[in-house]
């Protein structure tokens, strides 16, 4: 009982005596968590946004002639067998003609002379909306061209290519930045902890000399580390949340919200970030201290 009381008292006293450095370390942790989590949030939302952006993509396979429903099913199966596909729509001559006339709107009378058969039938393939398949679109198009009856495959060639590269680049950038940030924040936090512990080496050494048990020295440091990790992450994530709501309120119109379901982390991720941060801070304190206490 008294044991616990002393350790808690010791922790409290430490915090009180070193509050300014504690605050600075807390700020460091908070900022680190903030930029890391900010990045992570952008990354996850960006991926989702990238998918949405690919919605419009479809490949049109022009066919030699109308095909029977049985054949349609067979083709669809073949296509689905090659790649993950969201939707496959068969467009008959008639349907194609209707569309064109709708497009031409007022001028649709020009089509009257042609009759509904002048446009070729086609299959429209909507590939699955993930970046992986997007980047393989060319490959996919080549495959579609080999289908029986296919005469030509049309798709927003250059646009798709650009989009694919763009999203790929985004992915790489996010990945690298993420890595860089993790590295940097990890280093910064551990360096900061090392320095602050180092500033207290005299105190720790004296405790050692006075015969303080390992627990007496380490538990307060551990508690301190846990608190720093917890509070630091807490502040960091909280600021992120405010930033997030601010962005959402300030910058999203109806079309925007529609496009990006700009969403915050789920609880699990929050807990995970906090946990890792706590482990990191507490572990950092203990390992820094170990170096100082070789007595």
């Amino acid at each position: 009982m008294r044991y616990l009381a002393y350790i808690l008292a010791q922790t409290g006293r430490n915090l009180k005596q070193t509050w300014s450095t504690q605050c600075m370390t807390l700020l460091t942790v908070s900022l680190s968590v903030l930029i890391f989590a900010f990045f992570f949030l952008i990354y996850t939302n960006m991926l989702a946004a990238g998918e949405k952006l690919g919605d419009e993509l479809r490949l049109i396979v022009y066919l030699e002639d109308e095909i029977v429903p049985q054949m349609q099913d067979q083709l669809e199966r073949k296509i689905r067998g090659f790649s993950d596909v969201e939707k496959v729509v068969y467009v008959s001559r008639k349907k194609a003609f209707d569309r064109l006339s709708k497009q031409l709107d007022k001028d649709k009378d020009v089509l009257d002379d042609l009759g509904p058969d002048f446009l070729p039938p086609s299959i429209e393939v909507y590939p699955a909306k993930n970046l992986h398949t997007l980047t393989q679109i060319k490959h996919f198009a080549d495959f579609l061209a080999t289908l029986p009856q296919a005469t030509k495959v049309q798709y927003g060639h250059s646009w798709v290519e650009r989009f694919a590269y763009f999203t790929k680049l985004l992915q790489i950038i996010m990945f690298l930045s993420g890595g860089l940030l993790i590295l940097t924040t990890t280093f910064m936090v551990s360096y900061t902890i090392r320095l602050t512990i180092f500033a207290r080496r005299e105190e720790l050494q004296i405790l050692r000399m006075l015969g303080a048990t390992d627990a007496y020295i380490k538990v307060p440091l551990l508690l301190e580390g846990v608190m720093q990790g917890f509070l630091g992450t807490g502040f960091g994530l909280l600021s992120l949340y405010f930033l997030f709501t601010w962005i959402r309120e300030r910058f999203t119109g109806p079309g925007f919200l529609n496009l990006f379901e700009f969403s915050f982390f789920p609880l699990q991720i929050l807990v995970l970030i906090t946990g890792v941060s706590i482990i990191f801070c507490a572990g950092g304190s203990l390992t820094s201290m170990r170096k100082l206490l070789r007595l």
């Binding site: 008294r2 044991y3 002393y6 008292a9 010791q10 005596q17 005299e202 105190e203 050494q205 004296i206 405790l207 000399m209 006075l210 015969g211 303080a212 048990t213 390992d214 007496y216 007595l295």
Partner: protein
């Protein structure tokens, strides 16, 4: 756990066995500074011993070996019958709680008050707050420091700091007390106050080793005086 923080009952070790026993202890600092050479000393339980010698003779080094802040290059040191080189960390920590050391360079924390500095030593041994308060007030009273109780030690005069270091060493009523140059910054009057404290502790059974160059405190005293000359006992 609490047992060893109190004085071990005399029955545990044979009374005739020395309390502090050094056998052929040498300490060589890298690269080749022989600070101590083949020192053999036996100090009985309850003894008060003076350790003298010129500056650089090895007094501090010897005390550091006894309180296990450093390890000898050669030789065996036994305190309370235990070989120091064989102690486990836990045992070592408990032993340290039972040895009070007034370091020559004090090693007190300048940002803490006098009270906090002394109570640190007692809290480490899990003494109760009331015991701590009473003991510290007693000690401060004896060492003429009562009015500095809540002053940060960094703001004290050097002699006052020295007395804080001594008070901390004596706080736990240790069974062994090592005082390294305890009166180096003290005037005659304060010196006698400090010596009184030591005698009082000694009467209560504490074994005391005082390293000092101050002839006035050991010259006509009825205690054994060990003299070190360049790391050798003479």
């Amino acid at each position: 756990m609490k047992k060893t923080t109190e004085n071990t009952p005399p029955g545990e070790i044979p009374v005739d066995k020395p309390f502090v026993d050094l056998v052929k202890v040498s300490k060589i600092f890298k690269p080749s500074i022989t600070a101590l050479q083949d020192i053999s000393i036996s100090i009985a339980r309850g003894e008060l011993v003076f350790l003298t010698g010129m500056s650089g003779a090895g007094k501090t080094t010897l005390l550091k070996l006894i309180c296990c802040l450093d390890r000898p290059t050669k030789g065996v040191i036994e305190v309370e019958g235990k070989d120091l080189s064989r102690l486990k960390p836990k045992q070592l920590q408990l032993l340290r709680q039972n040895i009070g050391v007034a370091y020559q360079n004090f090693r007190i924390l300048p940002d803490l008050t006098v009270f906090q500095n002394i109570s640190m030593a007692m809290e480490v041994a899990y003494r109760s707050p009331t015991v701590i308060r009473r003991r510290i007030d007693d000690l401060l009273n004896m060492l003429l420091l009562t009015d500095k109780r809540d002053t940060e030690t960094g703001k004290l005069s050097r002699g006052e700091q020295q007395r804080v270091a001594i008070a901390r060493a004596a706080a736990n009523s240790p069974s062994l007390l090592l005082a390294d140059e305890p009166t180096g910054n003290l005037d005659t009057e304060t010196t006698w106050q400090v010596m009184n404290l030591f005698k009082q502790l000694n009467d209560a059974g504490t074994t005391i080793i005082i390293a000092s160059h101050d002839e006035t405190i050991y010259k006509n005293a009825p205690f054994r005086t060990l003299k070190l000359v360049q790391g050798k006992l003479v």
